[in-house]
């Protein structure tokens, strides 16, 4: 063993040194990248997988103007340094023309400046952090957690007629002001106020009973949370253990998955979510037909994330096909800036990149619900719920 270790060491060094960047020629494939959370504590692999499926299908049909698309999905491990390195790998090293279908918890915030500097545009499939919605070079295709929170509150107060709504906010990083803004927007529209906001709820905590007890004691009848799936499950279980079964949960698309529905045995008075894309659990819907077929063919899980990645790639292809002349980063950026809005039945708001300094224009969600004992998500409305224009 003593001898094998140094040998291993040398092997690692050689292997690391041997890896050099690849060159992309002018007539070679069009390189498109994305930065994704593919490993670590929270992962979203479906968005980039779905985008890849779209591009693969396009390549199989002859590519774009005869050129193939080479799609590179890089892992950021949820680690800031890795996220920055990933952007440099795909933007600086592989000379990508644009970033499409990224989904990461931190990527926008870390790389927005770099993208501006490199004059590259990014169309994340799922944007999460606030910088995704406030940068001139980033325009996600999804609604985003902040508008989603306004939507879920609107649904709770206006449709479900809940008056005593409390917010339990899991704050990671600098998201608190953005959530506060989302709540303020709801207040502005409805003139209503939350019973209380607890922004100290831990992200990734183990036992949420104390927070649930506190909310119950304060007289909350409905609770809005911005959870990741395991946390939400913990919160619902804590409420169940406390015998609090008449509470309404107003949650976000982050919990909209089949896994989640199976893991919940008691959903109180119901879990309501404004789905950012047309609900994928509605199997018969024509809106999702093309997406569903492609995902089934490529064996990608049916989730909101794969919807986002799919749409981002689809929009991007449409813009690319409308371009004339050489496809370079500069040309692609220009085309995206000048594109006409594209409508799609999977979303309630047409998508446009455009010249704006911030991109936070997707304002429609489709309400769905998870009832106690149902074990699956059901539609809760017949049309998109929209945030009224101010």
């Amino acid at each position: 063993m003593r001898k094998t270790l140094p040998v291993l060491a040398i092997a690692v060094l050689l292997a690391a040194a041997g890896c050099a960047g690849s060159e992309a020629g002018a007539n070679g494939p069009i390189v498109v990248g994305s930065v994704n959370a593919l490993s670590g504590a929270a992962t979203f692999p479906e968005a980039s997988a779905a985008a890849k499926a779209v591009f693969d299908a396009a390549n199989a049909a002859g590519g774009v103007n005869g050129r193939k698309i080479e799609y590179k999905a890089i892992d950021d491990k949820g680690d800031p340094a890795a996220a920055a390195a990933a952007a440099r790998e795909v933007v600086g090293g592989d000379q990508a023309v644009a970033l499409v279908g990224s989904s990461s918890l931190i990527e926008c915030e870390i790389n927005e400046k770099y993208y501006e500097q490199q004059k590259i545009l990014s169309m994340p499939g799922i944007g999460v952090d606030p910088a995704c919605f406030s940068s001139p070079n980033i325009a996600p295709v999804n609604v985003g957690p902040f508008h989603d929170m306004t939507l879920t509150l609107l649904y709770g107060s206006e449709v479900l007629k809940q008056d005593d709504i409390c917010a339990l906010l899991e704050i990671a990083g600098n998201t608190l002001p953005a959530y506060r803004a989302a709540i303020d927007e709801w207040t502005k529209i409805t003139g209503k106020k939350l019973k209380y906001v607890d922004s100290t709820v831990p992200y990734g905590g183990s036992d949420y009973t104390p927070y649930i007890v506190k909310a119950r004691a304060a007289g909350c009848k409905a609770i809005t949370v911005n959870p990741v799936e395991p946390d939400s499950i913990g919160q619902l279980k804590a409420a169940q253990a406390q015998g609090w079964t008449d509470v309404t949960w107003l949650l976000l698309t982050s919990v909209y998955s089949e896994n989640y529905a199976k893991a919940i045995s008691n959903a109180g008075a119901g879990v309501y979510v404004p789905a950012e894309f047309y609900p994928f659990t509605d199997a018969a819907a024509p809106a999702n037909k093309d997406w569903r077929e492609l995902m089934a063919k490529s064996r990608i899980p049916l989730t909101s994330f794969s919807q986002g990645g799919y749409l981002a790639a689809k929009y991007f292809l449409a813009v690319l096909r409308g371009m004339k002349g050489d496809i370079t980063r500069e040309a692609v950026s220009k085309a995206l800036r000048e594109m006409k809005p594209i409508s799609d039945p999977m979303v309630g708001t047409p998508y446009v990149f455009g010249p704006a300094q911030a991109h936070h224009d997707n304002t429609a969600g489709w309400p769905i619900k998870l009832a106690t004992g149902a074990g699956k998500w059901e539609l809760a409305a017949q049309d998109w719920l929209r945030i009224p224009k101010q």
Partner: protein, 567 residues
């Protein structure tokens, strides 16, 4: 030769900077960026090398200190503190060191595993807290400004390499200095540390603070690299992984810390290229860590072993064969160490009862007695390791009280029956540390040669047990204490060397100006060295006085001589 030796670290540093420059120019942009990550990890690992490798403690919150550094750098950036990034980095390191001391103060009163529990608790708490509170400037997305001359990725890599080289030099010289010796010593034996008058707590605290400072600098550097500080960079899991990496790579060696950092970056990168899920990286680290800990050796020792095997595998021993010039012994003077009514009991067992002992100036007092008579307990009690002992002791007329370290500084030194000499140092570094005063090279070499010890440059790990005991004696003698308590110093020597050793011991008062209390089993040695004797039996003084009188005492003969036949 000596000058050349002093220049070696600087030559290595210059070479490292040159390599850094070549890499910053030659590598592809993406690899340059990865390189910065490697440098950041290397600095954190250097810190862990100090605290876990050299000082032998378990620290599981290295990235928490990195977060402190990152916080300070972000705050300085937001507040626009003058001095620029370099100054902020130093401030970050300082703040982390302060945090380290604050955490360490309570934790370091304890030993071993409790520090691990405390640091893991801190890492877990900081992990959760950092997610909720924000780093300064994070909300506004205010990027940390890199130093002006090093603003793009390539030159920032060079900057990072410069910082790493500076940290490496600092660690190198700290480790060669007093602090470093005390770290080695405290890792090996706390008693040994206290016996040379160095504070055990101080030694641990300095190690912890240096480690935390390096952690802080790495965190600050990371902030400059990414532009913003994120809690996700400083999770408890990553701290654990870094610790395991430090163990498996042997990060107490600077080159191995750098190599560990390359692994830290290369393993995930290779996994990515091979399409293997990234989580396997930590599994690999975990397995290699277990294998390193279960005694299969770490990378650092494996490489070093290959190197040394080529050089020389022989251990150095004692050479007492050369005759030494005679020195006229000084006549014993007034009592210098006086112990009155010393009693020690462990529970119901009385180990010492009303013991009186006097060591005259320039004299050598022998303390003999059968096994279990309380001889070593006597040394422990006088040197302060048994705070519950009763009775009084005076050294040169002043009361001798307080902790072992304090008594050592007051001029009372002792050696141990067991090996307390840390294998990580060279003979010279150890003796200089034990002496606690500036020694000339001639003084050092002369004293070592007098006792037939290996040369000052020899690593202690290649010195045999008997010689190590003598090196310990030499160190304490060069400290010029008033009194030195020797607990069976000849135990590791071959019997035929005892006489030669005794002849030298006899000259100690005249040569070194030190009075000696000698505990010894070998009666021949005692006879040849000691002017006066005290005989202990069952914790009581059986007889005391000039050698001839005591050895002729019938009670001594009865109690003691039966046993000597066994020797």
């Amino acid at each position: 030769m000596r000058l050349a030796e002093k220049l070696v670290p600087f030559a290595v540093a210059a070479a490292a900077v040159a390599v850094g420059y070549a890499l910053s120019v030659g590598l592809a942009g993406y690899f340059v960026y990865l390189g910065v990550s490697a440098v950041v990890a290397a600095i954190a690992l250097l810190g862990l090398g100090v605290v876990t490798g050299t000082a032998g403690m378990i620290s599981l919150c290295q990235l928490t200190f990195a977060a402190v550094g990152a916080f300070v750098v972000s705050a300085c950036n937001v507040a626009g503190v003058p001095g620029g990034f370099g100054t902020w980095l130093l401030l970050g390191g300082l703040a982390a060191a302060v945090a380290g001391v604050l955490v360490g103060l309570p934790a370091l009163r304890l030993r071993g595993i409790t520090l691990a529990v405390v640091t893991l608790g801190l890492a877990a708490a900081a992990d959760l807290t950092l997610v909720q509170i924000q780093f300064p400037g994070a909300t506004e997305g205010l990027s940390v400004e890199r130093p002006e001359a090093f603003s793009d990725d390539r030159s920032y890599f060079l900057f990072a390499v410069l910082v790493l080289v500076a940290c490496g030099l600092v660690v190198h010289f700290l480790r060669r200095g007093r602090w470093g010796s005390s770290w080695h010593l405290v890792a090996f034996s706390e008693r040994g540390t206290a016996a040379v008058g160095a504070g055990v707590r101080t030694s641990k605290l300095t190690a912890f603070a240096v480690s935390a400072a390096l952690g802080g600098i790495s965190g600050g550097l990371l902030t400059g690299q990414v532009g913003l500080a994120f809690p996700a960079s400083f999770t408890a899991i990553q701290s654990l992984a870094l610790y395991v990496l430090a163990i498996m790579s042997g990060a107490h060696l600077i080159d191995m810390a750098v190599f560990g950092a390359l692994l830290w970056v290369a393993v995930p990168e290779l996994l990515k290229r091979w399409g293997v899920p990234q989580d396997w990286g930590f599994v690999v680290f975990g397995v290699l860590g277990v294998q390193a800990l279960t005694g299969r050796g770490n990378l650092g020792t494996a490489v070093r072993a290959l190197w040394y095997r080529r050089r020389s595998g022989r251990t150095a021993g004692v050479g007492l064969t050369e005759p030494v010039p005679d020195v006229e012994p000084l006549p014993p003077g007034d009592p210098v160490l006086e112990v009155r009514g010393l009693s020690v009991s462990f529970g119901h067992v009385t180990a010492l009862s009303e013991v009186d002992i006097t060591v005259p100036e320039h004299g050598i007092l022998g303390v003999i007695g059968p096994n279990g008579a309380g001889k070593s307990t006597l040394v422990d009690a006088i040197s302060g390791f048994l705070p519950r002992a009763t009775g009084t002791a005076t050294l040169g007329g002043r009361p001798l009280t307080g902790s072992p370290a304090r008594r050592a500084r007051a001029g009372l030194r002792r050696t141990f029956q067991q090996d307390r000499v840390p294998p990580g140092l060279t003979v010279g570094a150890y003796v200089r540390f034990v002496a606690r005063r500036r020694l000339t090279g001639r003084e050092l070499d002369g004293a070592l040669a007098f006792f037939g010890c290996p040369a000052a440059r020899t690593p202690l790990s290649r010195v045999d047990a008997g010689a190590r005991r003598l090196v310990e004696v030499v160190g304490h003698l060069l400290a010029r204490p008033r009194v030195l308590l020797l607990d069976e110093p000849a135990a590791g020597l071959p019997h035929e060397e005892h006489v030669a050793f005794g002849r030298r011991l006899r000259q100690v008062p005249a040569r070194f100006g030190v009075s000696v209390l000698l505990i010894e089993h070998d009666l021949d040695l005692v006879r040849s060295v000691c002017d006066t004797l005290t005989v202990l039996d069952f914790g009581r003084v059986l007889a005391s006085g000039p050698q001839a009188d005591v050895l002729a005492d019938p009670a001594v003969l009865k109690a003691y001589m039966g046993e000597t036949e066994l020797l």
